[in-house]
Every structure is written in C-alpha cells, then in structure tokens.
C-alpha cells in the first residue's frame, strides 16, 4: 500500500489541476452524487441510529450508577460529532462506494475502455476521476451531518426508554446543547472531507492500476477498501491530534 502513496498523491494533484474542467463534468458529478446518496442514505440512517443507541447504553448505565446521568447527552453528542460519525460513515462509504468506484474504473481498464478514451484524446482523470472525487467530497460531509443527527436521536431514544438510564429527551438534548458547539461538528466535517478525498483517490487509483480480467478487478476492489480503511484510521489519529487544539 505505502509504495503507491506517491502515485496516489500524483493522481490527487492531477485531479486538482483538472478542477477548472469541473463545470464541464457537472452532469457526471451529479450522477455520482445521486449514486452515493441513493446507495448510502438508508444504511447510514440505520448504522447511525444504532451507534448512538449503543453509545448511550454502554456509557449511560455506568454514568447513571455514579449519578452522572445528566451528562449522557453531551457525551453522545461530542462522540458522534467528532469521532464516530465521520469515522464510521467513512468506513461505510469506503466499503459501499469506494469498492464500486474501483470495480467500475477497474473493469473499464481491463476491457480497454480507458484506452479507447485516451485514443480519443479524452483524459481519464477529467472524465472519470474528477467527477467521482468531487461527488464524494461533497456527499460524505453531508452524510456525516445526517449521521450525527440520527446518532444523537438514537442516543436520546435509548436514554429515554431504557429502564437502566431513564433520562428524558429534554434533559438529554439540554445537556447536548450545553456541551456540543459548532466547532465540534466542524471538526467532524473537516475529518470527513479528508477521508472522502482518501477514499476517492485510493479507489480511483486502484481502478486505474487494474491488470488482467475479473481476478484483477476483484484484487483492485479489495485493495481499494482495505487501503482506504487503513489510511482513514491512521489519518484519524493525526487529524484528531491537530484539531484537538482548535
């Protein structure tokens, strides 16, 4: 994976250079946005609801025993906004969308469609990579906002209806409002934007590097997902370390 980092950075740089052509590729970008949203929204909803719920259940029972039940809202709020929302959503998108990007571009490479584009003087970075990277860079932060809100709601549901916790909606959200500020949500959005670029670049790079037929495509898909998740988790630490000061 690490020997390809240079190639991936080069692909990213070339895609940045292609940004002036973004308006031309708007229809493909919108198609990709629809694909990402349509494929991920329901899954994101279910995942976030249960993450928020589990968080409230695990921490809530311990906090209530120690008379700290009124801080559950803030704890779930910050955890979802700064960490679990962006990381879990990025992992979900790496699996769902990163794999599909690598498979689609990989099969185009394997079946000479990318060669055909090049013979027509159509740059595959403009035509294939740019719309995908733009779409995921917009879609993932939006999904994270949605995920964070659903996660908060999941935590509130469990806090209110679980007999071990028994914290009302009002108390939960009052505490959440006191603890969570815009900076916490922005923190998560910055992370998710970086993770989106990682997923887009890694997946498109793996697709473009595909060699051979169906087996090669399968290998590219696996590498795209695994490498994206590993890089997300590594970068998460460093981003947290940087953003903790703000």
């Amino acid at each position: 994976m690490f020997q390809n980092i240079g190639e991936m950075l080069l692909l990213f740089w070339r895609t940045i250079q292609a940004l002036p052509f973004a308006w031309r590729q708007r229809q493909k970008t919108l198609d990709q946005l629809f694909e990402i949203g349509n494929a991920s929204l329901l899954m994101a909803c279910i995942l976030s609801l249960f993450i928020g719920g589990v968080l409230a259940l695990q921490a809530g029972s311990v906090l209530v025993q120690r008379g700290l039940g009124n801080v559950i809202g803030g704890m779930v709020g910050v955890s979802m906004a700064k960490e679990l929302g962006p990381v879990m959503m990025s992992i979900l998108i790496a699996g769902r969308i990163g794999s599909s990007m690598a498979a689609e571009i990989g099969s185009m490479r394997a079946y000479q469609e990318i060669d055909a584009l090049r013979t027509m003087n159509i740059n595959p970075i403009h035509y294939l990579v740019l719309p995908r990277l733009l779409a995921i860079a917009v879609a993932l932060p939006l999904l994270v906002i949605f995920s964070v809100m659903v996660g908060w709601f999941g935590g509130a549901l469990v806090s209110a209806y679980n007999q071990m916790i028994g914290i009302s909606f009002e108390a939960y959200f009052n505490n959440l409002r006191q603890v969570v500020d815009v900076g916490d949500v922005a923190n998560g959005l910055i992370k998710s934007f970086v993770f989106a670029l990682v997923i887009g670049v890694v997946s498109c790079h793996q697709g473009l590097q595909t060699i051979g037929g169906p087996r090669g495509i399968g290998r590219s898909v696996t590498k795209a997902v695994v490498n994206s998740i590993v890089l997300i988790l590594i970068l998460d630490y460093f981003l947290t370390r940087i953003l903790i000061n703000f």
Binding site: A116, N121, I122
Partner: protein, 257 residues
C-alpha cells in the same frame, strides 16, 4: 468546430528501431518502416507476433523501450504532437463504454471536446450508424449487442472523429463474411472520402489483399517483408508463403479411436 476542421490532411508515420519487452520478454525487436500519407498499410503475422502492441505504440498507449515513432516527421513523445493529429483506433473488442448508450458512445468525441451542438451530434451519430448498418440503435446499450455489432459501433465512433490516421485492430474478426466485406468497403470509402492514412492489423487475407496498398509481414517482433499485395503473394520466403497460403487440409478418412 474550428478545432475539428483543422489539420484535415492525412499524415505519414515513420517507425524507427522500435523495441519493446514485457517482463524481460522481447515483443518488438527493432521495427523500421514508413507508412505513407493516405496509404492503407496492412500488418499481417501470426498470433503473438507483436502486431497489436505495435498499434498501441503508434497511438501512444505504450511507450517504447527504444526507438521512436514519428508522425509527419515529429516524434509522438514530444509534448503536443499527439494533440495536433486526429487519430482513431478501432479496437478488436470494440472497447465501447458500457455505461453509455450506443449513440453516446459514437458521439463521445464530439460531446467531450464540444465540437458541435447536441442536435448536430445526434445527426452525425445517426449518419455514422447508418454507414455501418446499425441505423436506429442509438438508444441500445452495448451489452445488448453482439461482438460484431460492437465492432461496427466502434467503427462508427472512429468515423465521427474524421481522423487523419486510423488504426484498425482485427477489424473483421467475429464478423460474418457479408459484414466483413462491408467493413472492408468502409475502410476504402473512408480513405477515398478523407484521404485518411490507415494502418490495419489483420489475419484476414481477403481483407488484406482487398484493401492494402502495401502489406507488412511481421513475425516474432521483426518485419519479414514489406511490399504490395502482389509482391507478398508471390514472395519466395518459406515463412511468408506458409502464412499467406495456409490451407485447411483435414484428413477426412481419419477416425477418432
């Protein structure tokens, strides 16, 4: 449109000392030849002799280990040279974009380079599809087409480019004899209409002798002979004779044990 109409003359291609190896296995072993302007130049040779790799070098999909390819005297490695020349390649598999319809595939070059308004593109696409006998299939998906139909769509896509240099990789494989004749006629029609320089890689002897101005015989990455169809037919080299005059002679009296 101005971009599209510029450089309407055909081009010449010179190949000097071209060598290429893959994983240490030499595929092209020093090729030298020239394709003249408006010529139909057919490259023949056994499977694995390096014909398709040679085509990929000429269109810039592969970079040579040694040697160079010149188009109108300028090396294709020089920045901007490939952008100046309108080239098209008809791939053996068609290489159509499966995510697009047939019509979108054929009009892709014009759409992406914004060379004509959409209604003009639709008309040009319809005309090109009619030329290759696929009138009215604009809205079909490539996955609904047979191998031969895909190849004809690929040819229509190349026609739309109005190329100065067109490369055909096995243009008649997978086609029935009637359609093979249609494709051969279209290769010649295109040459007559636009004076395009054509390089054709093929095993099809009928196609080669029917359309070629000159034929190159290539074997194991080397050129054995270049000449007119008549010169190739009458050549005394045993390898060339064997390839050109190969006949299917099965012993029908033999039975399987």
């Amino acid at each position: 449109m101005s971009d599209h109409s510029k450089n309407s003359h055909s081009v010449s291609v010179q190949v000097h000392g071209l060598r290429k190896s893959f994983d240490g296995v030499p595929v092209l072993r020093g090729l030298d030849f020239e394709v003249h302007r408006s010529e139909v130049f057919v490259i023949m040779g056994p499977s694995g002799s390096g014909k398709s790799v040679l085509l990929k070098h000429i269109i810039g999909l592969e970079i040579p280990d040694q040697g160079e390819i010149l188009i109108d005297g300028e090396s294709i490695q020089k920045p901007g040279v490939m952008d100046k020349v309108r080239m098209a390649m008809v791939f053996q598999s068609g290489a159509l974009l499966n995510s697009l319809t047939v019509g979108e595939n054929v009009g892709l070059y014009l759409t992406e380079h914004r060379l004509r308004p959409p209604e003009d593109i639709a008309r040009v696409v319809a005309e090109s599809l009619e030329v290759v006998g696929l009138k009215g299939l604009e809205n079909r998906s490539p996955s609904e087409l047979s191998g031969g139909m895909k190849k004809r769509v690929a040819l229509a896509r190349a026609l739309v480019i109005e190329p100065q240099l067109i490369l055909y990789d096995e243009p008649t494989s997978e086609l029935d004899p009637l359609m093979a004749v249609t494709i051969a006629e279209e290769i010649l029609n295109l040459k007559r209409r636009t004076q395009v320089t054509s390089i054709v890689v093929s095993h099809d002897r009928d196609l080669a002798f029917g359309v070629a101005d000159r034929i190159a015989i290539i074997n194991e990455g080397k050129i054995l002979f270049i000449g007119t169809p008549n010169e190739v037919k009458n050549h005394s080299d045993p390898l060339i004779k064997k390839f050109i005059h190969a006949e299917l002679t099965l012993d029908r009296t033999r039975t399987t044990p």
